[in-house]
């Protein structure tokens, strides 16, 4: 099981609580996690990554285990504590504003 924590705007949009639990088959990567997330919540398509290129939207970041994974390749395997559900994957809106 993978635990994903969405930013508040996307929680409202997907009508979910603080944490989303996803069942994943195969290796846990950014791509496979987002594929499953978007399959379960189609309204999130286009809000985290581009519809066509699947590139991460520029002002979103992926954090886990106190590390910034945003610039990792989408097919890189996520840290074991994320893959095993011990630690969540945070999807975070980049800080902006005053």
């Amino acid at each position: 099981m993978i635990r994903v924590i969405l930013p508040p705007n996307l929680r409202e949009l997907a009508e979910v609580d603080y944490e989303v639990d996803l069942d994943l088959e195969g290796p846990a990567t950014q791509r496979t996690v987002l594929d499953v997330l978007e399959a379960r919540y189609p309204v999130l398509r286009g809000t985290i990554r581009d519809h066509v290129t699947h590139e991460r939207r520029p002002l979103l970041r992926f954090y886990a285990c106190r590390e910034d994974l945003s610039h990792e390749p989408p097919d890189a395997v996520l840290p074991e504590p994320v893959a095993s559900g011990v630690e969540p994957l945070f999807i975070v809106g980049a800080i902006a504003g005053g």
């Binding site: 705007n9 949009l13 398509r45 939207r57 902006a96």
Partner: protein, 371 residues
């Protein structure tokens, strides 16, 4: 008695304002989509309870929302706006080629006849259409493929398609405007397009009389006279009486001919409204006085409408989509400001009241007449 519904898009959400035909007391519902930019929302002329809203964010991109009950409840619709074919390039601010990139939907124009058909004007400039109530969107790529596309360039607000006009007498005729490419018209329901900018003069582009490149801010028409178009350009207020083939200036005695919105009285095709601001670098009213200007002669002669509007220390702007009229008699006129006020006049502009005063900056105002 008829009811009136005002749809207000702001920097931080949408608001739905309702009143009876007197237009004195207003109920305010919202914010809907709190925290999101709502560039525009508009109801279907064929089904007033069918509303569409453009919801966007720099972080999370574009969403389209639809309501089937007049704004009480909403549901997200399709949000994939993919350019047709290889997008190519347009000019960047410095004149270099820049890839076409979808950023947001500026304007949603529901079909006059079919609630499931809606046109969307987007940044980077292109026209999309849905025919299934917003589930899927397809580009009418003949516009971007017109041939002049590689020469289009963005205005300060981005390269946006912000105006979509339908001819009530001819559903195949569409007119659109792009900042800063100019105005274009289609005679075949959006398949092919021609620029309609003859007579526009823009000193801020290399060739002031160029076929494209003009920063058109807004175009309006009266449904009973669709060949007459009124335009607020970056500078200059213009008029065409041949569906855009030729334009002439009607700025006349305005204190400034710079501004964003322009609209036409619901019952008087020669009564036009603008909100002048000082200049391209000072986006606020001249002398700090918020004045709507009305021409009853189709332009050139303008009168200041000030009753109920702040006449000192007012430095707000009125954006291009933030003015609307209702079809009651007398005609109601509405506009929203970047300071969060929505002003309404129930007497054609003679007097004004702030029907709501402290919203986030207003980006769009539309008004519906309800049975």
């Amino acid at each position: 008695m008829s009811r009136v519904r005002a749809l207000v898009g702001t920097r931080k959400g949408a608001f739905v304002l309702t009143s009876d035909g007197k237009r004195e007391a207003w109920d305010v519902s919202g914010p809907h989509f709190a925290g999101w930019e709502i560039y525009h929302l508009k109801g279907s002329p064929a089904d007033p309870d069918r509303l569409y809203a453009s919801q966007s964010s720099g972080w999370f991109g574009q969403l389209i929302q639809r309501s089937d009950d007049g704004g009480a409840t909403w549901r997200p619709m399709g949000n994939e706006f993919t350019y047709d074919g290889v997008p190519g390039t347009h000019q960047w601010y410095d004149g270099t080629p820049h890839p076409w990139e979808f950023k947001r939907v500026w304007h949603l124009e529901p079909s006059l006849a079919d609630p499931d058909t809606v046109y969307a004007g987007v940044e980077d400039a292109a026209l999309f259409r849905t025919t299934d109530g917003g589930q899927t969107w397809h580009e009418l790529s003949g516009l971007r493929g017109h041939g002049s596309g590689p020469n289009w360039s963005p205005g300060a607000g981005g390269m946006c398609l912000h105006t979509i006009l339908q001819d009530p007498a001819n559903p195949d005729r569409l007119s659109i405007a792009i900042s800063a490419a100019g105005a274009f018209r289609s005679a075949d329901a959006g398949q092919t397009w021609q620029p309609i900018n003859r007579g526009l003069k823009s000193e801020y582009i290399p060739d002031p009389d160029a076929e494209v490149g003009h920063c058109v801010h807004r175009i309006a028409l009266h449904p009973s006279r669709p060949d007459t178009l009124f335009m607020q350009k970056h500078w200059d207020v213009m008029r065409s009486d041949d569906a855009g083939e030729n334009w002439h200036e009607i700025s006349g005695d305005l204190p400034s001919d710079f501004g964003f919105p322009i609209d036409v009285h619901a019952h008087e095709p020669d009564t036009v409204y603008v909100v002048p601001i000082t200049s391209d670098r000072e986006h606020f009213p001249p002398e700090g006085k918020l004045r709507v200007y009305r021409s009853r002669t189709g332009g050139n002669e303008w009168e200041a409408l000030t009753k109920g509007l702040p006449q000192q220390d007012c430095y707000v702007n009125v954006l291009r989509d933030a003015m609307a009229v209702d079809a009651l008699d007398p005609c109601g006129v509405y506009f929203g400001t970047t300071g969060g006020q929505v002003y309404a006049s129930a007497d054609g502009g003679d007097s004004w009241n702030a029907i709501v005063r402290d919203l986030p900056g207003v980006m769009s105002v539309e008004v519906q007449l309800l049975p």
